[in-house]
């Protein structure tokens, strides 16, 4: 840097004002994100009518746990939790197994055919056969109504590979690897014992991305699973919400009691929108602080350079 260095006094001042700016921005971000979360919580335990008419602002109105109770009473919700946990862990492990080695290989300078392989991958991001041939393929593989359909197909994400590859290319510990090679280590050894441990950050991020993707998925289940024993959580919850919203109810054959019940549940659906968010994401939100420890650790490891 050619500019004259600041005096220590000036530096301290600019750093101080910088600090204030940083913390102010962070506070604004927190507030802007926190209020809607807070609102979700209080809306989920408020009286539906108050929510619909906009009377719920800072506190829950007419506290009621109905919207939670009416969801959690279904045994299928708990099966859904179990299934989603299974699909998420197995699925993410499978994703990482496909992703990390391939990204590392794609980051290797001088690899012949790399461009061709890249085109091979990227092509699939833009051209796809569509749902029908895919459905037929899954059928041929006997994966219809098989829980494996939530874990196995299409486990490789080209998008994530590109990001991970960039990471590997930019943070590869060249000197470390060189000395290891001189010591006689093969490329596999370099990958597993040197590059991998130092890439904690990207592995953590990709694990997070894929895990969240699995956690939120329901469309594959909608298309390929018939048996409610295998339903993931999101599908169950979606079904519950739609059932309560009573979109396509025929009132022609109902008694007064039924109609009143229907209306009660329809209004309940308004707050159920919010309670479902909590129910669906509570495990993630609870697990996150613990996961964050490893996350930070992984990130920290990634920052240690040779």
């Amino acid at each position: 840097m050619a500019r004259p260095a600041k005096t220590r006094e000036q530096l301290k001042n600019s750093d101080a004002s910088f600090n204030i700016l940083i913390h102010l921005t962070a506070l604004v971000a927190i507030f802007v994100c926190a209020y809607p979360i807070y609102y979700t919580i209080i809306a989920s335990i408020s009286d539906p009518n108050a929510v619909i008419t906009g009377k719920v602002l800072l506190w829950p109105v007419n506290l009621t746990w109905d919207s939670y109770r009416s969801v959690l009473r279904y045994a299928l919700v708990w099966t859904g939790y179990k299934n989603t946990l299974l699909y998420t862990t197995a699925g993410t492990v499978w994703n990482l197994f496909l992703l990390i080695p391939a990204s590392y290989a794609m980051a290797k300078g001088g690899l012949k055919g790399k461009k061709l392989i890249m085109v091979f991958f990227v092509f699939t991001m833009y051209f796809s056969g569509g749902t029908i041939p895919y459905y037929l393929l899954i059928k041929q593989m006997n994966l219809i109504n098989n829980p494996l359909v939530m874990i196995l197909p299409g486990g490789f994400s080209v998008f994530n590979m590109i990001i991970t590859r960039t990471y590997f290319a930019n943070t590869f510990p060249v000197s470390l690897a060189e000395s290891a090679r001189i010591d006689g280590a093969g490329e596999l050894r370099v990958f597993i014992q040197i590059a991998l441990p130092l890439s904690g950050a990207i592995v953590a991020v990709m694990a997070l991305y894929h895990a969240v993707g699995h956690w939120n998925s329901f469309f594959s289940a909608l298309l390929f699973l018939n048996d409610s024993r295998y339903y993931p959580l999101q599908l169950v919850l979606r079904q519950v919400l739609i059932q309560n919203q009573g979109m396509t109810v025929d009132t022609g054959n109902m008694s007064t009691d039924e109609m009143a019940d229907l209306l009660r549940r329809k209004r309940l659906a308004e707050t159920m929108k919010y309670s479902l968010i909590i129910i669906a994401n509570l495990p993630i939100l609870v697990a996150y602080p613990f996961a964050q420890k490893y996350f930070v650790k992984g990130v920290m490891i990634g920052s240690i350079k040779g």
């Binding site: 910088f18 927190i30 979360i37 051209f127 393929l137 490789f156 994401n281 990634g302």
Partner: protein
């Protein structure tokens, strides 16, 4: 140069020898790529014959191969439809605004979070800014409706304090794009910082130390050390974003759509959805999807080409 030196002649390698040596060292990389290649081949390339549905008059009983070939008929049908320009304009504008305003914010936020010294405050900021990403779309729209409500919404209450208020934002065409982009930023900015924070973890501590010693302020550190380090990540993500220029998600646009803002809110995804409800449109909707992807691919190639020309990072 041909010499008479026998040692040199022996050392001259044939292409085959070079190839053998190459594979001896590099075969492992192809092994590492194998699972991914197989996965993509089976699940993406085996079904790819379906790509021709957009070029045929698909009839289920005849199957894909048995259906009549109609070439570009459906592409032309889409391009010639009376609202084609409007739909394209709406899609592109939403995407571009989202990119223009939404792309830099996670980067800035990542820098901010990275600079927070106190560990607990950093953790809390991260946790809270990640959360909106998990809120389902129906609830997000519910929140939007709440905040923008004509009578009881927060925005109108504040405006009432200034003497106006009572504005029905959701019926205003001029407000639609702003509402969409602002809510997108709010929902996903925090989550978007994750990848940048991971990249920032790769900043060389030695260089930072050296900069400090040289008397750089924190702002200067960010500008001259941090930023260049994560620039490759930024560029790659930008290229990838550009490559999804027409992929505006269906759900939020649909939920915020009504007859009064239809002129600006009808995008490719909502249009295709309404076509899909009417039967017999399968080939047509597939052709539209393909058109969508072709435009995306073209933009990707263009932006990637630019990145290659002006920098070091690019897709290939």
């Amino acid at each position: 140069m041909i010499t008479d030196n026998p040692m040199q002649r022996i050392r001259h390698k044939t292409t085959l020898d070079r190839l053998k040596k190459y594979f001896r060292q590099y075969w492992i990389f192809y092994l590492l790529l194998l699972p991914a290649l197989l996965d993509v081949f089976i699940f993406k390339y085996l079904p790819i014959y379906g790509v021709q549905i957009g070029f045929r008059d698909y009839m289920a009983r005849r199957g894909i191969w048995g259906s009549d070939w109609v070439g570009l008929k459906y592409f032309f049908q889409f391009v010639n439809s009376p609202n084609f320009l409007q739909i394209m304009r709406n899609t592109v504008l939403l995407s571009v605004y989202n990119l223009l305003f939404g792309f830099p914010i996670p980067i800035i936020l990542a820098f901010v979070i990275n600079e927070i010294r106190r560990h607990s405050f950093k953790k809390i900021t991260q946790m809270i800014t990640y959360m909106p990403h998990f809120i389902s779309m129906v609830a997000v729209v519910g929140l939007i409706n709440l905040v923008l409500d004509r009578q009881s919404g927060l925005v109108n209450i504040i405006l009432k304090g200034f003497g106006s208020g009572g504005i029905s934002f959701l019926s205003m065409q001029s407000a639609y794009r702003t509402i969409y982009v602002v809510s997108e930023i709010w929902q996903h900015a925090g989550w978007g910082t994750i990848i940048y924070l991971a990249a920032l973890a790769g900043v060389d501590a030695e260089v930072v130390e050296a900069a400090r010693i040289d008397g750089a302020s924190r702002y200067q550190k960010i500008r001259y050390v941090d930023f260049p380090t994560i620039l490759p990540t930024i560029i790659i993500l930008l290229i990838l974003r550009a490559g999804s220029v027409l992929n505006i998600g269906f759900e939020k646009v649909f939920l915020l759509q009504n007859d009064l803002n239809r002129d600006v809110s009808e995008i490719i995804a909502t249009y295709t959805y309404r076509l899909g409800i009417l039967n017999g449109q399968f080939s047509y909707t597939t052709a539209i999807g393909m058109f969508n992807n072709l435009v995306n691919a073209t933009v990707l190639l263009f932006v990637n080409g630019l990145a290659r020309k002006f920098g070091e990072t690019s897709l290939w």
